[in-house]
């Protein structure tokens, strides 16, 4: 396979190529050249799903199903850890199910009330911090339920929760609880961004990216109440979206200019400590 064929087969190779071309001032020509390649009637994109080892252990009959199951695997984990976090922050037993009453409005916390010390969270950010914990717990559960339903409606295999459950060391303050949540949200947004390129169906892709930006909102808001950089922020193992290197955004772009991403197999490895028995 020559380098041009390699380029056509791999979206990441294409990106690296384009980054070099852009750096050389040839980006537009490269885009024009590539835009005519690989299109097929009936689908928007050429199939990029050439490496199933990117998603070890994730079920699916095709790329879209595999990415959705990858997302579901992460949302199951995320929703369960949010539920545990919310129970801890509100003084309920950690195993309690999410209360059926949905929180309403920007300050809504449903039936939940803060029952732990805020820790180091600034006094004027404690109420919104707790409201975000409540609101986002329901959102992550809704993401999980949506993905399960969507996969079932496709007749696809559906990823199952880990039988032994999930765990995290949340500590005892709202600050420590949200610090764990922050890490999970930051992983979630990177996971979606690193997997979206494998998808083919434009509607499923758009929906996945819409979940992705919701996780980004959560990350930004939680970072804000914790007094952390609101991002995008370069964290260990990240890849930047411009040249895919494990480095902050290349010059002249600031660290906080483009969201970073993680490759699926990296994410699946990173979340293992949260999976009991894994």
């Amino acid at each position: 396979m020559n380098s041009f064929e390699e380029l056509m087969r791999s979206p990441l190779q294409r990106r690296a190529f384009l980054t070099r071309m852009t750096a050389a001032g040839l980006g537009s020509a490269a885009v024009a050249l590539l835009s005519g390649c690989g299109s097929r009637s009936g689908t928007l994109y050429p199939s990029p799903f050439t490496d199933p080892t990117n998603f070890p252990g994730i079920p699916g009959r095709n790329a879209d199903e595999t990415v959705l199951n990858y997302a579901l695997t992460l949302e199951i984990l995320e929703a369960d850890l949010y539920r545990q976090a919310l129970n801890l922050a509100s003084g309920r037993s950690v195993g309690t199910a999410l209360d059926p009453t949905l929180p309403a409005g920007p300050t809504g916390t449903g039936s939940y009330r803060l029952a732990v010390s805020p820790g180091g969270i600034a006094a004027d950010r404690v109420a919104p911090a707790f409201a975000y914990l409540v609101q986002y717990a329901y959102v992550e559960a809704a993401h999980r339920d949506f993905l399960q339903t969507a996969l079932a409606s496709l007749g696809a295999p559906v990823a199952r929760p880990n039988a032994q459950g999930y765990r995290a060391d949340f500590g005892t303050t709202l600050e420590s609880i949200l610090t764990v949540i922050y890490a999970i949200e930051e992983t979630g947004v990177r996971a979606y961004l690193g997997a979206a390129g494998f998808m083919n169906d434009p509607q499923l892709l758009t929906t996945a990216v819409a979940i992705h930006s919701t996780e980004a909102r959560h990350s930004g808001a939680v970072a804000y109440v914790l007094g952390l950089p609101v991002g995008p922020r370069y964290l260990g193992g990240d890849r930047n979206a411009l040249n895919q290197a494990q480095s902050p955004n290349p010059s002249p772009y600031g660290e906080n200019t483009f969201q970073y991403y993680l490759e699926p197999r990296t994410v699946l490895q990173a979340v293992r400590p949260f999976i009991v028995g894994a």
Binding site: G27, S39, Y138, A142, D145, A210, H212, S213, R217, N240
Partner: protein, 220 residues
Amino acid sequence: MPQMTGAATGRVTPPLRFSDIPGQGDIKVLNYALALEALEADLYAQALLRLTGGGTNQLGRTIPGLGLNDSAPDVRYVREFGQVEAQHRDFLNGALGGQSILLSALRTARFDFGIETQSRQQVVDLLYTVENLGTQAYLGAIKFFATKTYLLPAGAIQATEARHTAVIAAISNALFGPTKLTAPLAGQTANINGQVNTAGIDSTAEPDAVLATASPFIVL
């Protein structure tokens, strides 16, 4: 460039449509994104002048400053996000090179938000509205990409807009009362290219609708 004599003079009418955006396929989508990023970057520049010491916008109009400093959260983040939006604009403009909309349809474009008379709260409201619209605009444009070449950087910009939206909501709620959601709530109705979704996710916005909202701010 026409002489500007009043707020409404020279504004784009009828509104731009997606069909007016130059290029085909990916080039068209990138030019659409660039038009929005150019607007956003200039909005942030004018918002910072308005909130702080004042100055003059690209139309030559004087913007009186409200005299806030960087200890105010809106000022701090308007400064930070404004630099980011300018870099988004520059990235897209550089990627498009000679095919950039800033060399063709928007060659003479300036932006008039009427910011010189807006209150602090109105400025923050406008930033929230525009960032939210930007987040939705990128989502609505995905289906128009002809290839995946720019999906990754476009997604990386879109997540950044989403972060900005959430943080501006948090700041606005703290300064002016809690009226803005940082993110969609579970059960809230989202629109994904016309398909209803209640999983608590962002909606798409169609290019023609986005351009209809943006056009009154564009002066040619």
